[in-house]
Amino acid sequence: MSRKRISFRTELPLLVWLVVVWGALWRDFSPGNLVFGALIAVVVARVFYLPPVELSGRFNVLRAIPFAVVFLGKVVAASFQVMYLAVFRGPSVTNAVVAVPLRSHSDLMVTATGHVISLIPGSLVVEVDRSTSTLYIHGLNVRNDVDTAKLRKEVQDTEASLIRIMGTRTELDALQAEGWPATRGAGS
């Protein structure tokens, strides 16, 4: 077969996740059940092939926990903001589609940023340009250039935090050289 062989190390996070889902669905975390789940996970991952997720091999837990807390807070803020806009602004809300160039070109980082961005206040990914790794973001209640700049900064700061958690060494060095937090223009 022409498939790229995936190393066990690359596949491990997927397998662990599958075992956790298995245990959760059976509501049984006894060793026997987990071993059987692991067997099934390996078989499933072999038979139903997916392109490997390129992890960087870094994961900074100390930065991930505050990020998760801030993220939850932002989800709450986002919900109340959307609710407020829906009730008081409604049909007259002004939006914008903003191009935000990202630093990282790895698929995982662009995907993660897009996911986080879609769940925090006032932004939604409309289009992704993978070749230049640019996200086109639909911002709710973006009335002028100040709001646009704020939205762009928010997205790039989110990406910076994600790079600090699980970006590659090179991305991290580039970020430090840049002097975070920095804002970049849209780049025409």
Binding site: V20, V21, A24, L25, R27, D28, F29, L50, P51, P52, V53, V75, V76, A78, S79, Q81, V82, M83, L85, A86, V87, G90, P91, S92, V93, T94, N95, A96, V97, V98, A99, D107, L108, V110, T111, A112, G114, H115, I117, S118, L119, P121, L124, V125, V126, E127, V128, D129, R130, S131, Y136, H138, L140, V142, R143, N144, D145, D147, T148, A186
Partner: protein, 159 residues
């Protein structure tokens, strides 16, 4: 709910009640947003954010009431799948909406994607004209979405 609740039970019941009510309010907010927002993409905002938080609150309330440790992993898995799938579906709907022009340009303060789409369309037209001249089929023309990657963000990690 336990009748004649005292002490810790009463506190848990009260917290559960607050979580359920706020969660239901979030769903109500999403419904109001769907009704009142003017175009598809602002409606997608309403369909994603309050809904995710609402589900989280309702699941947390369930976890508190069940008083069994095994229910927490199931609830966590349910919410994580929600977190992973909601942005993807919102993105796909928003993207399709933008491409089929289901939006009100007069409600956008800026649209930085429009120029890109126009440029890509121009490029494609030029390529087509060139190909018509040389009569060579080109695989890249089969997709109808311009220069953007057709796979979008729905690559591997969300599976």
């Amino acid at each position: 709910m336990t009748p004649n609740a005292t002490g810790a039970d009463a506190v848990i019941d009260a917290v559960t009640a607050v979580l359920l009510i706020v969660g239901a309010l979030m769903s109500l907010g999403a419904a109001i947003g769907l009704l009142r927002f003017p175009d598809l993409m602002s409606r997608m905002h309403a369909a994603t954010k309050p809904q995710v938080l609402g589900l989280f609150l309702v699941l947390a309330a369930m976890g508190l009431q069940m008083r069994e440790w095994w229910v927490w992993p199931v609830l966590a898995v349910a919410w994580i799948f929600q977190l992973l799938t909601v942005p993807v579906s919102a993105h796909m709907v928003g993207r399709a909406g933008y491409r089929t022009k289901h939006l009100h340009p007069e409600l956008l303060s800026t649209d930085e994607l429009e120029a890109v789409v126009l440029r890509a369309a121009g490029q494609r037209a030029a390529e087509k004209a060139q190909e018509a001249g040389s009569a060579m089929p080109h695989a890249g023309n089969a997709r109808n979405g311009g220069s953007e990657d057709p796979n979008g963000v729905n690559g591997g990690p969300s599976a």
